[in-house]
Symmetry: D2
Subunit: 463 residues, 4 copies
């Protein structure tokens, strides 16, 4: 599992918007900085000036590389939206970095998107038949073309009609000359929360951004809701009544920052509770508990406290590993891997270890970590995963590999235990995965169960 | 204490060398990368080719910014040394980035230094009287000039004579055409360890670097020892017999990486034990324990396990905060601080908190963190510091402010408790600080006690 | 005058394409490098791989800054097009840098454009009514939307129909999966030439690019012609029969490189002949002739040879002035101007000077040069301009200021002579401007005469 | 010939200083910018603040790349020196970029040097015996160590004693806390001129810099003179009475900018006169004269006016070729050469050409240009070189290849004519080379004659 850089599980993107706040660009800078963990390929900010001018900056790289004070100063205005993008295969480079901006005489606008549209092929076919040209390979561009632009249809009606055509997972921010629309898909697969700041509003994929800028959490955007933010304050519309609360379980388990609250449940607390339940479900006799940094540290702490087994720092992750370059030999490349994560011999040597991780994707990283611990002298390594076995691909914006690559879709727990060189292996049950979010009625568990909350628009043989 | 960026406590530099290992430059790259936490201002590598050519690269910035595969390829040779530099006041920019390289017909050489020479003014005066010109403002340049260069004196004798003139803290690596000298001051204030790798050797400020490159720890360089590494293997010389084991306590408490072993004691284990002793010494009734990330997490875990109070992630540090730029308004700057470290309301709200930190320097950061926790709803905040109160400056390479700035030299514990807005405050005793390194007889506690293990060469009124 | 950087007269862009040549990207690199004088704001290359993949790179800055060998290697394929862009007001940054690339299921394509569409407002209105969204502020995007994309209309028919809607000046290159279309407006306002290279073809705004890559000039694209280049070789279509030969006179006078041939006439030879005719038309008694470097050196040489007055290097232009930055004081800024162009006192002192320049736009630069010469001791300064007085704006892609800013639209020759501090002033007649291109029947002289070869689509009061 | 980039003849460096002028750094920026043609590898500026602080910036690359307004602002002070460095083999990178700065308690100082010390090996040996360590591979560092630093010797005496030990060519600027010393070798091999600006002074390798910053030429520094500039104004000292006027002929022929005056003779006028004398000496029947841009254009113009043969732009040099990268194939590399310099077919085709160049070094470039002209249709190519044949290496700072590489040391004129594929070939005589600088009594012609004005300190067999 090692790190976001090579685990094979990735969230696609984060969005952030502010309305009626001075220095909007600086606020958005901090906001998307707090969402940087949701995407590191590129980022962008669009602001709208008092006179309706759109100011824009997009770039490949981290937020701290793309923006500087001079650029922020040039992004004038009291409202704006921002985006961080995770790099998907296909790439497309700068063309795919959002927010996307569109010129049209009925009013220019920009949009930012987190999620994935499952009927994008069907929709782009239809649009191209009408003569539309596309600039990016991103499905996020589709919504812009779907929104009807003529004098008769009110903008909100046009957006509602467009959203009704979309199937899948999305949190959309649309900004026009004088308004921000915050839209969330009818299953609520991707999170989107609203806060207040002074006389204005902020919208964010995660609430951790609110703490940084001093905003106060107000409420979540509801599944199927379009919140329109303008000089009249907040106004709510729903593009459908057939809504459900199917927030993606992986947001709790892996993606979201521990200091975010997702629909009322804190992520660190969720993870700690999942560690506690994991101990209850699959206890083991051992000397020390080790969590894989950083995302499994909360679960490890819960497991340790429930079990009374000391929680030790047996794996250390380097703080300074940024973009790395390819070393010429295999041996040097392996050192590069250890540079990122290494086992602490003095802690591990001679010990029976419980290794807590949040998931197993391909199994290669898990095996590498188990091996690392054994090389450093661990007598036994018992792997406990704070989520169910990953067996199905995600179509809603999580970059999970194909079914063939998901090792749990090929091996049962015993086989997998051997494959990763562990002494024992256990996963958290789906029930406990839900129960860890105390009081929650449902989540999307599609990647564990294959029960997708929407039509997938894929021919059956594809997965 | 927030982070290295603004805590006011800084180690100066790390050194790393390899002898008789193919692709020395790549190994050194990984080695100094593992030491990056000891200095982020600049870094450099010098290798020596088979034909005696010195290849060099120095630069300002992080290792990953200064080096790339092309540069590493150009640094040919099987031996070399590297350096990471922490930015001291005075600066000097690139001129001060080591290793320093010197041309002389008796043989070119390069050197890298961790530590501080306390009689540098006296020595540079003497050298300038002789006609020496200096290029940097660093005291590390002095040793190069002190080493006698003539045909009669053997190099090792010249180095011994030069080291005898130095007073202070140092770990020096000197590389010549065919040899590396690893030298440590007679008090052993700065760490320096030797490992083996294949048929060759590695030398490092910290052992964490050995794990990454697959080297095996051999032994520490002893206080007062000069280890000469060449085709004859290791040969030991001592420049004095008046040696003592006074390793800097702050190496254990704050500087070193948790996965390093300092003179046989693992740093994470030391810190966890210090947390345990801290609970024994100064217990308190509370709901949760929170450690200031990252350096106080081990101590917090020890405190929690000893006390049975749950250890929670109540403070979150952003992983993506790199070099930051100055925002134009005070308000925006404060957001920048929160971007680096923020409190987690859902975890903290309504709780009695024990906050574990490793030290208090000026008090401003401690107060800011206590305030952060209270703003997020903490009912009580009890501060426990896993080291004694800092009352005296360091002259051995730790960038501790002047005595006036050290809040503990002005306020007693009760006054300080109020100053940082805490409900209670306790420091670890000096005895426990030593005891946490089980079995150790001594350390340098000068910054806590004012007992300096060397002459300080300062007129009394200065501190 | 002075230089492209501040003269106020600018060509907009150059285009270059290759078909069926190995390493197309490297060839295009050299091709657009030879056209760099036509635009320095940005540049781009699109190639099409054997499997129909489009590879692209665009960037702001000079070609040597945007491209490097690694990028060129990544632009695989045997065919491609390139573009250099001149920065117009309005800017738009990277979004406006061409070639533009468009995705459509009927076949992706890219295009590059030199010139200006005069009915762009009317066309974009129509397209937006149909639902088109625009990404750039460039009129070059319009053609892409105008081309009908459906299964019934053959591509060449769709292009012909689209071009018939365009009014103005253009040289377009369109590249599809297997074909390049080279199109020129019906007045032939912008140049476009075809060469052969091995078994393939090259297309370029100017022939100077052919010499560099070893291509052989074949013929010009005719006004109104669409040359389709594919595996069948060259095929010619005309989108209209109402064609005329109105090549822009400023291409001869100022824009094109001296080593280019425009419709059969070499640019250096044209300029030298214009200098000769200028002497015949407006002789003057003087000691030396000085041409304003670089564009007026040929005319100065023609004037000198015809008159027998020695041609001297009395003005020197720095070779190293690239992108300059703004100095804080007026005095320092004036030094910056002299850094670019300075008078040579030893050459000029005490002399009666004939100053040859190619045009006067606002008059400020002319006055500055006359003053420079007088400060360096010139006794008399007689200005001879190797073109007629500029009195009207250009709507075909030359960045001429508004009529109010054109000093010749406000002042007659005598007044202007005083305004620029000259002792005498003369312009070349329109007839001689045509005659210098020996044998040519017509050119576009609209900026001198106000006779525009197309409808201008502007309300009368606008100019 | 072609260009500085590959001709094999290079001046090493230019120096520039200002005393008592506000914003010294900006002035020096312009000054060394005007001297950029003398060196493009690196550059640096040192200023001295009112309080005696030295502010410094050095970098590899062009002046416009190394400096920006922020850096210039940081270089506070009313006095300073600057340097442009030409890249010699051996390199040394940033370490060798001047001005060099030295710290010593007797007073810090910096120096900048143009020229070459021929007894540098002997001097560095002596200095190293004394214990000196060197940082660069540049001979310019020697002077710093030679200057005695003690309380008894006045600084001017120490400098005089040091200069007496130096043999070779030099123009040195030394800056201390309150003074600039401008020193020129006793043969006056390298130029150095003084100007006045307001109440202050400027010193420059060439006078072209004066025009840019508005300074007035005052006088040249004399051979053997040390001009001391401080609050007492200018004071003159001579370190020897055995002086001669042996200014390097190549300064006139090739290095200096046409708008510089070298010891009273304008460079453009010198070159034009040399072209005139070349026609008188070696006339030829031809249709057109073509000068190799840029350095031979003045000579071509003189040849044309004397002969009546029209001067045409038959070779065009690209303005945009900056740093170039290596293309993967020979064919692409040859295009790169043509990108820099190409022949103009329309001008050259069918013509008998006189090609004027300033020198022939290895012969390869001359042959390439002759071939270029023939490929473009030239019927005959008569080469006329505006200087004598280069037969001997230079030890005074001109980067002339070894004798074996100088084609004129191996071939006589007839053989060389064939070797470069010319129809006829002639060089200017040494007498005419002197005569072109009207009224001048002597120059250094060592590279043409082998008569070196100083001892060369080389064993005979070396050249």
């Amino acid at each position: 599992m090692l790190s976001e850089l090579n685990r094979g599980l990735h969230e696609e993107c984060g969005v952030f918007g502010v309305y009626n706040v001075p220095d909007a660009a600086s606020l958005i800078y901090y906001g998307i900085h707090s969402l940087q963990h949701r995407g590191q390929e590129g980022c962008g900010i669009v602001t709208v000036d008092n006179d309706g001018t759109f100011n824009r900056k997009r770039g490949l790289g981290l937020i701290s590389e793309v923006f500087n004070p001079e650029i922020l100063r040039s992004l004038k205005g009291n409202m704006g939206i921002g985006h961080v993008r995770y790099s998907t295969h296909g790439g497309g480079g700068l063309d795919n970095v959002q927010p996307f901006y569109f010129r049209h005489k009925s009013g220019n606008f920009a949009l930012a998107h987190n999620g994935n549209i499952v009927n994008s092929k069907q929709l782009s076919d239809m649009l191209e038949d009408r003569g539309c040209l596309f600039h990016s390979t991103s499905d996020s561009e589709i919504l812009a073309h779907l929104i009807k632009k003529n004098d008769e249809t009110p903008r909100i009606t046009a957006i509602i009609e467009a959203l009704r055509m979309l199937e899948g997972a999305f949190a959309f921010l649309i900004i026009t000359e004088n308004r921000i629309y915050a839209c969330r898909d009818k299953n609520g697969l991707r999170p989107l929360s609203i806060g207040t700041l002074g006389d204005g509003y902020v919208v964010s994929s995660e609430t951790c951004a609110f703490e940084v800028i001093g905003a106060t959490f107000l409420r979540d955007v509801e599944p199927g809701e379009i919140v329109c933010i303008d000089s009249h304050g907040l106004r709510s519309n729903f593009y459908t009544e057939a809504t459900q609360s199917n927030l993606c379980a992986m947001e709790y388990i892996y993606f979201a920052r521990p200091d975010s609250d997702l629909e009322g449940c804190n992520v660190h607390s969720y993870r700690k509770e999942s560690g506690r339940l994991l101990w209850e479900q699959s206890p083991v006799e051992a000397d020390i508990v080790i969590g894989v940094p950083d995302s499994s540290l909360s679960a490890a702490s819960g497991f340790s406290e429930a079990s009374g087994i000391p929680n030790e720092m047996g794996l250390v992750k380097s703080k300074y590993v940024g973009r790395t370059f390819i070393m010429p030999s295999q041996e040097l490349r392996e050192m590069g891997v250890k540079l990122k994560l290494s086992a602490v011999r003095s802690v591990v040597d001679g010990k029976r270890v419980v290794l807590i991780d949040d998931s197993i994707v391909r199994g290669t990283t898990s095996r590498r970590i188990v091996d690392l611990l054994r090389e450093s002298g661990a007598k036994e390594v018992h792997v406990r995963i704070a989520s169910p076995a990953l067996t199905h691909p995600c179509f809603y914006g999580v970059d999970i590999p194909t079914r063939e690559e998901l090792i749990s879709s090929r091996l049962n727990v015993d086989e997998l235990c051997k494959a990763i060189h562990a002494d024992s292996l256990a996963f958290l049950s789906v029930n406990s995965t839900l129960a860890a979010a105390k009081g929650r009625a449902n989540m999307c568990f599609a990647c564990f169960t294959g029960h997708y909350p929407t039509d997938t628009f894929l021919e059956t043989e594809k997965f």
